[in-house]
């Protein structure tokens, strides 16, 4: 879902950046990758990352492949990033464990960072573990009697908790689908 477009200069020349507000659930990483690729084909290249906010810089239209990885912790990240860079992937940044990579598309090349079902499953398992790890804090907060029954904090945390449970279900379904391959 798109909340709205910001900053796009309608018909104005010389507009160099574009900010978009967009929500992708953790189970929608492939849709996010496809969307970023489409933006690149239109000459808008992802230049900075912030939760729900994507900033693009104008350039020549290019067919760049975007890939998102998820790693549980930052340990050993030097050799992790080196491996991706050696393989031709540009590291654009990270957001809550998600790593954004980009590579120009070349015909006949797979352009995948995960090349078998088992390692794709492992990636979604790491996502699932992270979601599960955040859950207890949210449950404790919702259950805390110190907050009024419909206090805004409680309602907000309950909404986040619902999204989290939904995300867990979707990620688990994705794992199950990959296991059938």
């Amino acid at each position: 879902m798109t909340f709205g477009d910001g900053g796009k200069g309608e018909g104005k020349m010389g507009r160099d950046t574009l900010t978009k507000f967009k929500f992708f659930g953790v189970w929608q990483d492939r849709q996010e990758e496809a969307w970023l690729r489409e933006m690149g084909k239109q000459g808008w290249h992802l230049s900075s990352l912030f939760p729900l906010v994507y900033t693009f810089t104008r350039g020549e239209p290019r067919d760049d492949v975007y890939r998102l990885d998820f790693i549980a912790s930052g340990k050993d990240s030097e050799s992790y990033l080196r491996l991706f860079r050696d393989a031709g992937w540009e590291h654009l940044g990270s957001l809550t464990g998600w790593q954004y990579f980009r590579k120009p598309y070349e015909a006949g090349e797979a352009a995948e960072i995960y090349t078998d079902a088992e390692s794709k499953i492992q990636k979604y398992r790491r996502v699932r573990m992270r979601l599960a790890a955040v859950m207890p804090v949210l449950i404790v907060t919702v259950a805390n009697p110190a907050f009024g029954r419909f206090s805004s904090i409680r309602v907000f945390v309950a909404a986040v908790l619902l999204l989290l449970v939904y995300s867990l279900v979707r990620v688990s379904l994705r794992i199950r689908q990959l296991k059938r391959l």
Binding site: R67, S79, L83, D86, E112, I113, Y114, T115, D116
Partner: protein
């Protein structure tokens, strides 16, 4: 004998694991493994960096490979003696599979 039984616990290897172990009969860093696998498989098998990074960590935990050197942020890995036994056991299994297949197919003709 006990070593052979031990090695068989890891079989069958996935295609990815098989080619990674095959590449690591000589010490290589990550990207070197990716290139070697492409070459060994005649371009049929490509291993992405995400898959390879995870495989390195798993194979290290299983003591099938070990880090022999680290420089310029690149880790160089090679097979351990156990890794070599597992690889050899897999190759013998492939040979038996291929022989069985050829025999059945030839008998049909």
């Amino acid at each position: 004998m006990s070593e052979r039984v031990e090695a068989r616990r890891y079989l069958p290897l996935t295609e990815t694991t098989y080619y990674i172990l095959l590449a690591l009969v000589e010490p290589l860093h990550g990207y070197g493994v990716m290139q070697k696998v492409r070459e060994l498989s005649g371009g049929e098998v490509e291993i992405g960096p995400g898959t390879l990074y995870g495989a390195f960590s798993t194979l290290r935990k299983q003591s099938l490979i070990h880090k022999v050197h680290e420089g310029d942020r690149r880790k160089v890995y090679a097979l351990t003696p156990k890794g070599k036994q597992v690889l050899q056991a897999q190759i013998r299994r492939f040979e038996r599979m291929a022989r069985a297949g050829s025999k059945v197919i030839n008998d049909l003709r």
